[in-house]
Symmetry: C2
Subunit: 357 residues, 2 copies
DNA sequence: TTGTATGCGTTATCAT
DNA sequence: ATGATAACGCATACAA
């Protein structure tokens, strides 16, 4: 293993292509071909080179290769914030399926920002504009944008997931939040509920907006209006789902006429709400029906098991990754601007008929 | 913005240092200096160059830079498997704090694997040996190792976190699992419990082994022996924590003499166990006391709120990152082989005095 | 202080 | 089918 002498600094390097070439007794360019286009080299020399490479434990330098060919194999994932979405696990689940698709095609996953502060934003843009990255999957309603640079202008293929960014011309893979919530709320109405508490996510957040629209749709379906719903929350981010639920329970406590059903934008809120409301001797679902959203893994082990809406997270992740990969291998192909995969209501014991007055 | 003509393929490139140099009317090397060592260039030219760079929206090519200086700013994280550790969120929490420390120092976080299959292992090793990566943080008891290559031999600084790999000479940041579990079990003994069900993690897993040792320590402290504990589980990975809890509840059902306290290696197991056992009309803590481990965010909203052990995850992540960064900036510095940050027992309503017989 | 020239490790073009 | 050589974009030793 020849050491390269002029290494400016840092850890010592491993064997180079030149070392393999020397050992195999061929030119560097032949080694390059043998490794990349095995078909365009004599089988005998190919074997010889492969043996040499193996013996030396040669691993190609990815950066040199990327620099030369003008593209890398790194896919950047831009997250909306923390991975710690309480119990919901939506983001980790999404990452899981994305990663699987990427890695099987030889790509590498770079997590760009778990926080959403300025230093992280700048970081994202440097990566995007700095040539290190081949494409981007974004899970956020806002594109990183700072100092006149926007992620959209980095010349990289972008796909969005979970958030509908199609209006910004970014191909998006989403679920039918609105319709799913409409159906779920419909179930409550069918059970006789006429008065609701809606526990909201962050004000203006895409999911909160869509899901609340679904609630209103259902109200209209049932001949009701927004008058029938009281909103709570809207001040904190999804990362603080439990806290939102706690505050909603306090709000509920203040209400003079109590709703008979509670609809949370997300499971964490519902879970914390139930916990607090039960401490005040409210029974679920006898006194109060409650539904969440996301079908957090823990939701079926709650007391009572939480009715919720299951998103096809893995399918969305896989499709988003698939779309990006196809676009990368065929720049002429246009990713569908919007793909919608359906969610499903999962009925559990947290809802029941409205209490007879 | 001059287009570079010979781009082999792919997305069009942005402005280069040469473009900035041309616009500013200086040599490329001067631009390089102005951007990297602002001190070693005339202030006037520096301003001129900065203006030109800004106007063109210049972002340095990270790969070219890395190739030239022989080191990258990418830190690779090797995970034990899925991010979806049920509700515990330990891994995501760790990632969060690591990322924060890294990004503030100009480093980038690369998630090497979300699964732990062969293709991922190979991927990890290619990254490590391929020069793309500067250092590694591993959260796993097993070093990627395949085809004669081991992550340990990549010539990269490695730090471990959550898992004690100090016996393999890898600097590790861990918590005192054993002692923490000893204290928690001691609490149960102090409450009068003499007969236990231990819900085990994966057989041979570092955390399971350590924590169980702590249980045994406590038994001895109290003049008891392993005879006083029945083990359940040990067949599934932590990713299936809920499933382990379900099966433990079934095991419990079969026992002729019932333990009065249950100790789970991890919260998910405890949560699922409680859910199932309550369905069979067991009351917690009146009939049965239960503790978990990790203090999952959701644990305080369980019914009843779950007693558990809180690990200083963020502190561990920060320290691991800090150690790695210090090592990178000072190769002569030796990272402490083992750092132990203490966990703390959090007492909640899931435990109580043993029922009078 | 600034410019010139060389090389990082690889791929691709062009001869042979 | 293979080899010599020039680039990819940047940083640095050295010369001016």
């Amino acid at each position: 293993m020849k050491k390269n002498k002029n290494l400016p600094t840092g850890e010592s390097g491993g064997p180079l292509m030149a070392d393999v070439a020397a050992l195999a007794g061929v030119a560097i360019s032949t080694v390059s071909r043998a490794l990349a286009n095995p078909g365009r080299v004599n089988e005998k020399t190919r074997v010889k080179i492969a043996a040499a490479a193996d013996k030396l434990g040669y691993t190609p330098n990815a950066m040199a290769r990327s620099l030369r060919i003008g593209k890398s194999d790194i896919i950047m994932i831009v997250l909306p914030g923390s991975l710690q979405y309480g119990a919901s696990q939506i983001i980790p689940q999404a990452l899981q399926s994305i990663n699987q698709a990427l890695i099987q095609n030889g790509y590498t996953l770079l997590i760009a920002n778990l926080d959403r502060d300025e230093i992280s934003e700048r970081h994202v843009l440097n990566l995007a504009f700095g040539g290190s990255v081949r494409g981007t999957i974004i899970l956020s309603s806002e594109l990183p944008e700072i100092g006149g640079r926007s992620l959209a202008d980095a010349g990289l293929p972008i796909v969005s997931m979970l958030f509908d960014l199609s209006s910004a011309s970014i191909p998006s893979v989403v679920t039918n939040d609105r319709q799913a919530m409409r159906e779920a709320t419909g179930e409550l109405i069918a059970l006789g509920h006429r008065s609701f508490l809606y526990i909201a996510g962050p004000a203006g957040n895409y999911h909160d907006v869509e899901r609340y629209k679904g609630v209103v749709d259902a109200l209209h379906d049932g001949g009701l209006t927004e008058q029938n719903v009281v909103r709570s929350g809207g001040r904190l981010s999804y990362q603080r789902g439990f806290q939102i639920g706690i505050e909603a329970a306090e709000d509920f406590d203040q209400l003079t006429t109590k709703p008979t059903a509670v609809i949370a934008t997300e499971d964490d809120m519902a879970i914390a709400f139930i916990s607090r409301i039960r401490e005040k001797s409210w029974r679920v679902p006898e006194d109060l029906s409650i539904i969440g959203f996301d079908c957090a893994p823990v939701s079926e082990f709650c007391e009572p098991p939480l009715s919720s809406i299951r998103q096809p997270v893995e399918e969305m992740g896989a499709l988003a990754a698939e779309n990006l990969l196809r676009r990368l291998s065929d720049p002429a192909w246009n990713i569908p601007l919007k793909s919608v995969l359906p969610s499903a209501f999962v009925k559990r014991r947290s809802i029941g008929p409205v209490k007879a007055a």
